[in-house]
């Protein structure tokens, strides 16, 4: 493992914002939520990141999506003593991408398909099962899941748990008893619609979206009444403005996002009806602005020559009013996406000094390799800096918000375009980063891969994939396939980074003990010094880790760290699907990038919970 430091490179960019930003903002107390945090650091808005009560009620920890725990009992001086407190086998051996939840003495876990939900009693030794719930989803849904049968977690609110099933149902369960309260069928597997994302509950509404961008589905985000499961509103990502919920409230920052019915006119006739733009990623919420933020995924098919036009509203970020679903602004990160670059990664809400002014921003390590900083009130791009190897684009024009593409790397029919960086899953896929207000750093688990691409004519057959591209991936410059980068959003550069042999597909967790936790696909669960990147502790789990670690305070007042082990997802398909890596295009090119993974890990499904040894 190598640790690289980028302090020198950071200076190149830091000139514009030398000196504490608070000196240049009128009244720092208005803008700086936490007095103990100096104003020259990024901070999440307090309304979206309230003080930690020791629970973990949503996968992102809070509405600002910081994945930061204020628990500090486990720290750099004692983490070497960290040991297993208890384990739990989920009985499922597909990719475990979910974050466990903890609410007052009970832990909740949702598994990959068949999406079983378990409640573990943390007040008893060994955390026995309190109840379990089996939603019995349709087995055929497995055939229309693009990237393993994953589920990214449940959400808790007002005594209820909400989660999605692979066959496109949203289900509410009473958290105390496990009794089903309601279930709503939201999609049709015969059109390729599945659901894998973790819901977000905002003001009594459960926000959920569909998956299936590789099957020619039409993407949407919908809000369900948390009490009844009835649909309150539904916003499509393509089609007429009335379907997209674009109306009088809509005020995009850039003119190119402003015209009538762009969701139809930026496509060949009717292509928008099977155009993708699914909403399977992360949602954040700013209570003060009363806006939710969500991404839209890739347009379909992958072959870009079959869909000339900007393909609105795919590959971008929406801000919407959670009460009505009405769009406030939109920014298309990848107009006319060339590479399957879903724009659905996590959206961190941070108040950040930019050019001497404290701005309310949303920060997103994007699939195309740039860390985007947008004004979250207006949708203006404030900066976009590369955090990984990129040769398919040449930066973002901060005046127009336009991404400049490199023509030589654009897919063309009848031609193999070689060595495109980043790949289809991007510099970073769904697996979320974490932000520590103590260090001011964003911890980005990501990849270093490149690819060869050949477009082919995609053929739409409902219920089968609609792709039109053959891809093989391989290690990027330097040969390491993964990297954990600590990103300084003020200096717009890496503070440090750790190279990993395998691509990173797990989430990150930052704690007030100044520790950073993440897992690798061969099963190492690691704790790093959040300030330096020095590795302080590691544990080998039974199967590769692609889950989202969490920290919580147990009923006994002690700090615990929990993570699900169980390799899989698109990146681990070669293991869970027992694929044959002699075909370099298997798993849409992933098999070639991780052909060695079958020798390094096996399938599994196990919860690991760690704590310091109990003093007697």
């Amino acid at each position: 493992m190598a640790i690289a430091r980028f302090a020198g490179a950071a200076l190149l960019l830091a000139g514009a914002m030398a000196g504490p930003a608070s000196a240049q903002t009128g009244t720092p107390s208005d803008n700086v939520p936490t007095a103990s945090v100096p104003s020259d650091k990024a901070t999440p808005p307090t309304a979206a990141a309230p003080p930690d009560d020791g629970n973990w009620v949503m996968p992102a920890k809070n509405y600002a999506s910081t994945r930061y725990s204020e628990q500090d009992q486990i720290n750099a001086t004692n983490v070497h003593d960290l040991q297993v407190a208890f384990t739990f086998s989920t009985g499922i051996d597909r990719g475990h991408e979910a974050a466990p939840l903890v609410v007052g003495g009970t832990m909740y876990i949702v598994t990959p398909f068949p999406n079983r939900l378990f409640a573990l009693d943390l007040t008893k030794p060994g955390a026995p099962v309190k109840w379990s719930f089996d939603p019995k989803p349709a087995a055929s849904a497995q055939g229309v899941a693009c990237c393993d049968y994953v589920n990214r977690g449940a959400a808790f609110a007002d005594g209820r748990l909400f989660f999605n099933t692979l066959d496109s149902q949203t289900i509410a369960v009473e958290a105390e008893t496990g009794h089903e309260l309601w279930r709503t069928q939201l999609g049709d597997i015969n059109k390729g619609e599945t659901m894998t994302m973790a819901p977000l509950v905002v003001k009594g509404k459960v926000l959920v979206g569909n998956s299936g961008g590789e099957f020619g589905v039409r993407g949407w985000l919908t809000a369900l009444d948390a009490a009844t499961g009835k649909i309150a509103w539904k916003a499509y990502s393509t089609g007429p403005d009335a379907d997209v919920l674009i109306g009088p409230d809509y005020q995009p920052f850039y003119d190119k996002e402003r015209s009538t019915n762009l969701g139809m006119s930026s496509w060949p006739p009717d292509a928008w009806t099977i155009g993708g733009g699914t909403v399977w990623g992360w949602i954040s919420y700013d209570p003060e602005l009363n806006l939710i933020y969500h991404g839209t995924a890739n347009p379909g098919p992958w072959n870009p020559e079959q869909r000339p036009g900007d393909n609105k509203w795919t590959g971008g970020i929406f801000a919407r009013n959670p009460d009505t679903g009405q769009a406030r602004w939109f920014y298309q990160v990848v107009p006319h996406d060339l590479y399957d670059h879903d724009a659905v990664n996590e959206l961190l809400l941070l108040d950040l000094p930019v050019n001497g002014t404290l701005r309310k921003t949303v920060v997103r390590p994007e699939r195309n390799g740039y860390v985007y900083v947008l004004d979250r009130a207006t949708g203006e791009v404030l900066s976009a800096d590369p955090y990984a190897a990129i040769n398919s684009s040449a930066g973002v024009d901060l005046k127009t918000g336009e991404l400049t593409m490199v023509e030589a790397k654009a897919p063309k029919m009848g031609k193999v375009v070689r060595d495109i960086c980043p790949t289809a899953p991007g510099s970073k896929d769904w697996n979320p980063s974490a932000f520590s207000p103590r260090t001011g750093l964003i911890y980005i688990p990501h990849m270093n891969l490149c690819m060869d691409w050949q477009s082919a004519e995609a053929n739409y057959i409902a219920g089968t994939p609609y792709i039109g591209a053959e891809v093989r991936m391989f290690a990027g410059p330097g040969g390491n396939r993964g990297e954990l980068s600590a990103w300084d959003p003020l200096k717009r550069a890496k503070a440090w980074s750790v190279k990993e042999d395998l691509p990173l597909w797990s989430g990150a967790l930052a704690t007030a003990g100044d520790l950073l936790f993440y897992g690798t696909m061969e099963g190492w669960f690691k704790a790093l010094d959040a300030r330096t990147g020095e590795e302080l502790w590691r544990f080998k789990a039974g199967s590769g880790i692609i889950g989202q670690p969490i920290a919580y305070r147990g009923p006994d007042g002690r700090e615990y760290i929990a993570v699900l082990s169980g390799v899989g997802g698109w990146a681990g398909a070669v293991v869970v699907g027992d694929l044959d890596p002699r075909d370099s295009s298997a798993a849409s090119g992933w098999a070639n990038a991780v052909a060695d993974l079958k020798q390094k890990t096996t399938k599994g499904g196990m919860l690991y919970v760690f704590a310091l040894p109990q003093r007697r």
Binding site: G143, Q454, N459, D578, D580, R582, S584, S585, A586
Partner: protein, 192 residues
């Protein structure tokens, strides 16, 4: 008071549904004493496991002409892309669906098994293509699927790829030998 004419009409109207009932009643009593010969055709001809009640039934007449013929295999290769087989199974290495170029067959590796899997679908995600692909094209597809693991004669297997060349062409693939875990293998009797 009803006239004789009216009552005659009424009788006629009543007679029509009664006649229908009478016909249905005859069908109800219809029976086919023997049925189709056991194991000769249809789904009954296909086994998905390698365990039999009693002695294994003799194999049905196969469609070996599809496996030994370069034209059929090359048609199969083209259809494999046209019907989006490749979008789930890649070039045989698999993805959403299982690999087809290795020595494992979940639902059987005979030409009949593969034909049945394509037409019937399978419960864990393989879609049914019933009535979507002409029968001869299904046989061509099934034969091509067998060529992915080198089960077809090299003289007949496709010798080149039109795309990324993600793996060697079928003609150059080593022949995989399915093990006992693969139901319905080609040599159930006399396997050594």
């Amino acid at each position: 008071m009803s006239s004789p004419f009216h009552s005659a009409v009424r009788t006629a109207l009543l007679a029509i549904p009664l006649a229908g009932l009478g016909l249905a009643a005859c069908d109800r009593e219809d029976r086919e004493p023997r049925g189709a010969p056991v194991g000769d055709s249809g789904p009954a001809a296909i086994t998905q496991g390698s365990l039999y009640a009693g002695e294994p039934s003799p194999p049905r007449p196969s469609h070996r002409e599809y496996e030994n013929n370069a034209y059929h295999l090359s048609q199969g290769k083209q259809l494999y892309t046209s019907f989006n087989c490749n979008t789930c199974h890649a070039n045989g290495g698999g993805g959403i669906g299982p690999a087809l170029m290795d020595d494992k067959w979940i639902y059987g590796g005979t030409l009949d098994n593969i034909y049945a899997t394509i037409v019937q679908g399978r419960p864990n995600g393989m879609p049914s293509f019933r009535n979507k692909i002409p029968e001869q094209q299904v046989w061509q597809l099934a034969a091509y699927v067998r060529s992915l693991s080198g089960q077809t004669p090299k003289a007949a297997s496709p010798s080149r790829n039109d795309t990324l060349n993600a793996k060697p062409a079928e003609q150059r693939m080593p022949k995989e030998e399915p093990k006992g875990s693969s139901p319905g293998g080609p040599n159930l009797e006399g396997r050594q």
